[in-house]
């Protein structure tokens, strides 16, 4: 029962946070800020939703289920590893090309014709 309530609470939190992230992505003025909002969904919302799933999985405590929980936490770990990295990569790309000369002077389509 407690598990259910905790699960429910986490689900609600997750959805609400995701809602906030979506609103942010829609409302913020430029893509840098939107990326911050996208970061929310990458971290908190995913973590709380996945934790809720993991808790639900713990309803019947058995060895395979524990491993599933382990895998879910692997997913959390990976998302919190890949999320920032891709955010950074995108930001970097956007920033790099705006403020400094592009790395390749030529457009790739010009050289072969």
């Amino acid at each position: 029962m407690i598990l259910n309530i905790a699960c429910l609470a986490l689900l609600t939190i997750g959805v609400v946070i995701f809602f906030g992230a979506v609103i942010g992505v829609l409302r913020f003025p430029d893509f840098y800020s939107r990326m911050h909002a996208a970061g929310i969904s990458d971290t908190m919302s995913t973590i709380s939703l996945l934790t809720a799933f993991a808790l639900f999985q713990l309803h019947d405590l058995s060895w395979p289920n524990l491993l599933v929980v382990g895998k879910i936490f692997f997913i959390v770990a990976f998302i919190s590893l890949t999320g920032p990295t891709s955010t950074h990569a995108l930001m970097h790309a956007g920033y790099q090309r705006r403020n400094r000369p592009p790395v390749r002077k030529q457009e790739p389509d010009e050289d072969m014709t």
């Binding site: 259910n4 699960c7 429910l8 689900l11 997750g14 959805v15 995701f18 809602f19 992230a21 979506v22 609103i23 992505v25 829609l26 430029d30 893509f31 840098y32 939107r34 990326m35 996208a38 969904s41 990458d42 995913t46 939703l49 996945l50 799933f53 639900f56 999985q57 395979p64 289920n65 491993l67 599933v68 895998k71 879910i72 692997f74 997913i75 990976f78 998302i79 890949t82 999320g83 990295t85 891709s86 955010t87 990569a89 995108l90 970097h92 790309a93 956007g94 790099q96 090309r97 705006r98 592009p102 790395v103 390749r104 457009e107 790739p108």
Partner: protein, 101 residues
């Protein structure tokens, strides 16, 4: 409890639809990539949710994990592309720089 998950799933889908809206309007490619990346993360969550609805989470975790890992490759490739090429058209972004030691 199942209904709760179902509702959560539907809510997430509707919200994902809003993200899709950003993909539609997003003026630059980066906006779209950001939104797509976000949808990718959400797909991972939804996959596990579907697994719960099927009562077979152990089967669905695997490719949720795959999705989490490989979605990264796609957005990285896009970022790399943007890094390597001239932009299609420059967007105006107001940024103030502050120095801080």
């Amino acid at each position: 409890m199942e209904d709760v998950f179902l509702t959560t799933g539907i809510l997430l889908f509707i919200l994902a639809g809003l993200v899709l809206l950003r993909v539609v309007i997003g003026p630059t490619a980066i906006d779209r990539i950001v939104a797509v990346n976000m949808l990718g993360t959400q797909t991972t969550v939804l996959l596990i949710l579907i697994g719960i609805l099927f009562h077979r989470v152990d089967m669905f975790v695997d490719f949720a994990l795959t999705y989490a890992l490989l979605n990264f490759v796609g957005s990285l490739a896009a970022a790399r592309y943007l890094l390597r090429t001239k932009p299609l058209k420059d967007t105006k972004i107001i940024v103030t720089e502050v120095d801080r030691a």
